[in-house]
Symmetry: C2
Subunit: 533 residues, 2 copies
């Protein structure tokens, strides 16, 4: 595929137009070198924001009623356009985030794969949720009307870019892709830590909008002054839902703003998780060095800046556990800190690690080396016991970056008590063998209440994008435990049901027409029926 070269403009893309912001500028910043990156990005003001949301509102009717093939082909085109950018995208993302090329290349593949997966869902159409209860004119004591239900998109969606996934949770990331797949125009607020990466992807989306002949308001990319433009965006009457990945404080602030609107709207904020990992006796009869090495790899990968990084592991007290802890110490010793996303995040990790080490009953288990750059603090693992863990709230807080806490337990009751004490999490991981099943069984119902995904004998980092994935969980992992932000179920976040009763066929939307022109599976009187039947 021929590659295209993007000339970075430093401006927002509002409904297909380059818009110079009037509210100051921000620059990208290379955390590996502490160098400012050009160009400066101009920040829009409230009036400019209003043009983006108005365009999204104007685009809504035509975009949400697209035929499936045009709609799906648009998502495919975004993926094609992102690939057509070539090496420039990963190079700029490396400079802006300090993340290594291999990780960013993988993330780009995930981003384009996600768009194409969502395109396949749009073509297939089950997400439209068609239900038909046909009329029963002879029913006694009252006839039944013809009632047909489908899911419709909520309206324009505001999406906030995440600092830690400049591609897969940013401009064309999971929230944008699922909102577009649902039929919702998107106003995307770029994360100011990677403005150039955002612009490159923004042009790829805007080109797909143009080439698909869609209303340009289907997508806008805006740069704005952090919190204030975010609050204005979430308060905007045209916006009907919000996708966010970031800090607990940032997420809860957006939730509060959305709830204070005259018409409250849903906010899907993925915020905070320490992802407990449980080691059972059987699992520790294996190769402890390999296990410890995999643990250290999951803690330190991407500098630990992953939502699913294992910040908490439960290990049995006693000899086996001691041997595992020793293996972790050995595995961690040579591990060097990697450049973190921003200086602020690196400083925050250092502070978090210092604070954790000073807690009563907490001691250092393993520490790696400081990295080669200024913003690459050494990874660390601390240790404590269940009693301390149960009583100190600090040990329950996420430390964003390569830090983890090893909690030693003496009984199944310890584990149950610790699990019940956990806040909501994205994941819980079980390292176990067949002989541990009886011990694990009573823990599972507790974990189901606490997490969105339970996995065995692996590591929670590396989230598969598929139909069955759940990247979600109870508060504070997310602000809405009924949803996932990864995988095809994410599309349903941006839909709502509408029923049509005795509406003439000519006025019904295509998914509900008697002839089933889109060949959808439809639930008839409660039973799912294929289009071919």
């Amino acid at each position: 595929m021929p590659t295209t070269q993007t000339t970075l403009t430093g401006h927002s893309i509002i409904a297909g137009e380059s818009v110079t912001g009037t509210g100051g500028t921000v620059n990208g910043f290379d955390p590996a070198t502490n160098e400012v990156l050009e160009p400066a990005y101009s920040l829009i003001d409230a009036a400019q924001l209003a043009t983006a949301t108005a365009a999204a509102e104007e685009a809504f009717d035509s975009f949400n009623s697209l035929d499936p093939e045009t709609h799906a082909a648009f998502l495919d085109k975004i993926a094609d356009n992102i690939e057509a950018v070539g090496a420039e995208l990963v190079e700029r993302a490396m400079a802006e985030t300090g993340l290594p090329a291999a990780r960013l290349n993988g993330e780009r593949g995930r981003t384009t794969g996600q768009l194409r997966l969502f395109a396949s869902v749009v073509r297939q159409g089950d997400h439209r949720g068609v239900r038909i209860d046909p009329a029963q004119p002879d029913r006694q004591p009252m006839p039944r009307a013809d009632i047909r239900q489908r899911k419709v998109p909520l309206g324009p969606v505001a999406v906030f870019g995440a600092s830690n996934f400049p591609l897969a949770f940013s401009t064309a990331g999971g929230d944008t892709a699922s909102a577009l797949a649902a039929g919702c125009p998107v106003v995307f607020k770029a994360h100011n830590a990677h403005p150039g990466t955002s612009e490159i992807v923004g042009h790829a989306i805007a080109k797909a909008v143009r080439d698909s002949g869609l209303h340009p308001g289907v997508f806008s990319l805006i740069y704005g002054p952090g919190a204030s433009i975010g609050q204005a965006l979430v308060s905007d009457p045209a916006i009907k839902a919000v996708g966010f990945t970031g800090s607990r404080s940032g997420g809860t602030a957006l939730v509060a703003t959305a709830a204070a609107r005259p018409d409250p709207i849903p906010v899907y904020a993925e915020m905070s998780s320490i992802n407990p990992v449980f080691f059972f006796d059987g699992a520790l009869k294996g190769d402890l060095d390999a296990l410890a090495s995999a643990y250290v790899g999951s803690v330190t990968g991407s500098s630990g800046q992953l939502c699913t990084a294992p910040g908490l592991v439960f290990v049995p007290a006693g000899e086996t556990g001691d041997a595992f802890a020793a293996a972790v110490t050995r595995a961690m010793a040579p591990a060097a800190g990697q450049t973190m996303l921003t200086r602020g995040i690196a400083d925050s990790l250092t502070a978090g690690v210092d604070s954790l080490g000073q807690q009563d009953g907490v001691e250092l288990v393993a520490r790696g080396q400081d990295g080669a750059t200024e913003n690459a603090p050494a990874p660390a693992v601390f240790g404590t016991d269940v009693r301390t863990f149960l009583t100190n709230n600090v040990l329950h807080e996420e430390i964003f970056g390569a830090a983890s806490l090893m909690v030693r337990y003496t009984s199944t009751d310890d584990l149950l008590a610790a699990a019940k004490r956990l806040e909501g999490q994205l994941t819980a991981t079980l390292h176990m063998t067949h002989e541990d099943q009886a011990t694990v069984a009573p823990l599972l119902p507790v974990l189901e209440r606490k997490v969105g995904r339970i996995l065995a004998n692996g590591w929670p980092t590396g989230v598969e994008v598929g139909h069955a994935m759940v990247h979600g969980g109870p508060f504070p992992a997310t602000s809405d435990t009924r949803t996932t932000s990864v995988g095809t179920l994410a599309i349903e976040r941006f839909l709502r049901p509408v029923a049509y009763q005795n509406i003439p066929d000519a006025l019904l939307p295509a998914p509900l027409q008697q002839s089933n022109p889109w060949q959808l599976n439809r639930r008839i009187d409660g039973t799912m029926e294929g289009a071919g039947e």
Copy 2:
């Protein structure tokens, strides 16, 4: 079927036990006679409430993992037990609400039919949302894990009884039935306006719990001091979701309480709707007296105390509209007010009607007669034009009871402007013929944004309980536009997805086990597959 006789105790039923409240008493009240009804109902305090929520939490694990047949049979048993009560139930409900026997008998049928419909969903199992992405050990560049998803119940649910549906939206009503069908224990707060009706149905549920061998905490019925016990219930850590039908102020207060919890929880509040009806020219070429009579019937049925009562009709200006208005005046003249649910509700209708009549640009179109009891104010229809409607917020507020506003329009632009100005609604109704289709078409996308159900050539009152029904809509119709409180989709309000990755088959919940012991339809790699395939 033999009927059973309930001796009213005046006490709460907490996890199967009769509990005498220590917080004062409240009595039922006959709005037709202004007489106090015995017995007095004792109100529980916060400590007694905590025993109910603790029992619900204790019941959760066993209840949510019931096999489908035991679970469904339990719902069927509740229906059977309600029928077994016989005439006593409707007699007590008549005394407590002033509603006529025919309406209450119909409501009982709806309540038991709803329970049996939900039982059929539990047996069928698609609501469990099973998705399986099988392992791909040879996938490049990385193998794919085995990932399986199902929906699990949220946890114990608080349900608030509605004043206007003592059966179908109360003790064993839609919220209770859908929460129980989802696998959530229910703590039900009785509406103090019909405590005896609530107790009769509460015993029917408690007996079904007992006879099914379930944990008694699966259901509790509590009487408490209005707002304070409600706030305590919604704040209780064991409660994980809330169902409510009532006023906008009551609903938004519960939403605020739920949002202020350390772990915010979803609130499904069905609140406020004026249910616009649009008359197009073609429809007014028919029998105007029959149309007017149906309109008056829908406005005055159940004293207008229905969530879907048509509080707003749009009628063309000019001769045809004048003729329709005259027909409404004729049809309304003999209509007598019916006893309303409570004295407070009757007084509130009188005040609302007085206020509406005093608005600039609003005039009386039709008025019926005061009813035979003290709490039966005359029904009324007022008239105005679109310009007045667009500019006066008072005309957008729900008046609970038999009152309606007829808005005269002169153009399609008038209708579009009025529709865009509407708040969220449960329903919108179109009276039209084939010749009106071109006029209706541009209105439909506007209405889809505003309402949960669009119907043609009928009346919004009389909500069918089926698979395709949506009884929901944007704020303030409900607090969560993504849901319905009537129909089988209501069950999904109380579920959330959980993924299981590489979990050994022996530890997987039944819906996800490889052998598919519950014979569920499952979505395999994105494609729905029947159990028999």
